[in-house]
């Protein structure tokens, strides 16, 4: 398929188009507790991505029939600002954001101790203010810091990161050109304590060997992100 704007080469002399090495991540900064109204919040900058996440709860469930007697209802909403991408994004939910909201919730659910707050709701809102590939990973990463900032007990933080294939090579954390014209994308999130995977999506084409390599690379990426998350919380709350 002929795609307009496709670069001829993705990797020149071992360097990617933005100057990184194949296994190098873009710079990540996270700040916890940046908003006044929510119970917990986080702001994240990751390469060209700018993301806000907020957490409300545990709070009353609306509509009430959704409340559960044995655990809290965890709800996640992923939303892109209309100005966050090149072509203006029509405001409101679409199929993509509906799916991302769902996988975000399922990525976070394994660590949030929802059983401590029966009949309540924990609502997480993710706003993508500026997008440059890998927004679902940035959203999950920021959301888990926001939930921790809200003081909701968790088994672990959830860092997320993507690996993929561009120009036949396995690379970590694609930026927009690589994401648009690359051959494969594998966003994952992990529970750092056990290494278990709580988000896994993939599209493109991988052989079994390539997948294995990409999975390892992405997991290492998640571990690096985890350190940034911990530092963000330490910066606000102190401690070791």
């Amino acid at each position: 398929m002929k795609k307009i704007g496709q670069p001829k080469k993705f990797i020149v002399k071992g360097k990617r188009l933005d100057g990184r090495k194949p296994d190098e991540m873009r710079e990540v900064k996270i700040k916890a507790g940046v908003l006044e109204r929510p119970d917990g919040s986080a702001y994240l900058e990751w390469g060209g991505n700018k993301v806000l996440a907020a957490c409300y709860g545990p709070r009353e469930v609306h509509p009430r029939h959704l409340s559960m007697s044995h655990k809290a209802l965890l709800r996640c909403t992923y939303n892109m600002a209309p100005f966050s991408v090149n072509d203006r994004k029509r405001p409101g939910p679409d199929r993509r954001s509906t799916e991302i909201s769902k996988v975000t919730r399922q990525a976070l659910e394994p660590v949030v101790l929802t059983n401590l707050f029966p009949k309540t709701a924990i609502d997480v809102f993710i706003e993508i203010l500026q997008a440059n590939a890998g927004t679902r990973c940035t959203g999950i990463t920021a959301a888990s810091v926001a939930i921790a900032d809200a003081g909701i007990p968790m088994k672990d933080l959830i860092p997320a990161c993507a690996a993929g294939k561009v120009g036949g090579e396995i690379v970590l954390d694609m930026f927009d050109v690589e994401d648009n014209y690359g051959e494969a994308d594998l966003p994952i999130s992990i529970m750092p304590k056990t290494g278990d995977v709580s988000l896994l999506q993939m599209d493109g084409n991988f052989t079994e060997e390539e997948f294995k390599k990409a999975l390892n690379l992405a997991i290492n990426g998640c571990k690096e992100i985890h350190k940034v998350q911990v530092n963000a919380l330490k910066e606000k709350y102190g401690g070791n």
Binding site: M1, K2, K3, I4, G5, H65, R95, R96, T98, E99, S101, K102, V103, Q106, E109, P110, L186, M191, T194, G195, D196, V197, S198, L199, L200, Q201, M202, D203, G204, N205, F206, T207, E208, F211, K212, L215, I219
Partner: protein, 265 residues
């Protein structure tokens, strides 16, 4: 209406029963952990569609229909046809399906099946270009759940690829599509992606979960593979996790299972 939907809930006795059976290496319906339910596939089941198929996984029934329409290509791929995948989870198929706009679940089925078809380059979209930048064939693949008994993903993706293989391109006259008069041209299909879904219950991983198994499962992993034995799409679902080893093992198995599924096409 505030009525509790009991059909979405499994009693603890039933849950324990399923989990205990698995611990003994057994499943409720007598299948092995890596067995599909009986698969039946019929094509050409809706004659007004340009291609169609009905798949039964045991009693789980999904129909897929393909309609072709003339339209404008996307501006970044001006010389390629357009693929659209949609899923209807109508209340007819399950007491838990509701009418109204597409639910989260139906969006997920659409997008995961779509990724399998799109990323494997299953349809040679370049051959669907009639006039670059102006006019191309748009391929609409519509998934219709008829009787939901677990594992929509595999049934839907198999129905879709079967329906695409069954699709003939309609005749065009004076820029108008003459439906009902098909040409001899089949839709150019160059790859047959199939999806296999595993459910994790406790520490056991089983293929093709039934409805009851889906209600008990901790997590789910769908893997789309190609004839070449490559992976073209994946999706983890459910509130649990998978270890790295579990993921890699599921991939190896799904490549083999994919070959088995393709024999039905």
């Amino acid at each position: 209406m505030g009525v509790i939907k009991m059909d979405n809930v499994l009693s603890n006795i039933k849950k324990d029963y399923i989990v205990n059976l698995l611990k003994q290496g057994k499943r409720e319906d007598g299948r092995g952990f890596d067995d599909y339910r009986q698969i039946e596939l019929e094509t050409g089941v809706a004659s007004k569609a340009d291609g169609s198929a009905l798949v039964k996984l045991g009693t789980n029934q999904v129909m897929a229909g393909v309609k072709l329409k003339l339209g404008e290509p996307f501006s970044d791929v001006p010389a390629s046809g357009v693929l659209m995948t949609n899923t209807e989870l109508r209340p007819l198929a399950s007491p838990t399906f509701e009418k109204g706009p597409p639910s989260e679940d139906s969006v997920e089925v659409s997008r995961v099946v779509d990724r399998g078809i799109r990323e494997s380059n299953c349809i040679d979209l370049d051959k669907l270009c009639i006039e670059e930048g102006e006019k191309v064939w748009m391929v609409f693949v519509d998934i219709h759940a008829l009787d939901y008994r677990g594992n929509l993903f595999d049934a839907a993706s198999l129905a879709c690829i079967a329906a695409l293989l069954n699709t003939s391109i309609p005749k065009i006259e004076d820029d108008r599509v003459i439906y009902g008069e098909v040409t001899k041209n089949k839709l150019p299909i160059i790859e047959k992606p199939v999806e296999t879904t595993y459910a994790k219950i406790g520490s056991d991983i089983i293929l093709d979960p039934s409805l009851e198994e889906e209600l008990v499962m901790d997590s789910r992993l769908t893997i789309a593979t190609t004839e070449k034995g490559e992976i073209c799409a994946m999706q983890k679902g459910g509130n649990g996790t998978f270890s790295q080893d579990e993921i890699l093992e599921a991939i190896s198995k799904s490549i083999i299972k994919g070959k088995e599924l393709r024999t039905y096409l």
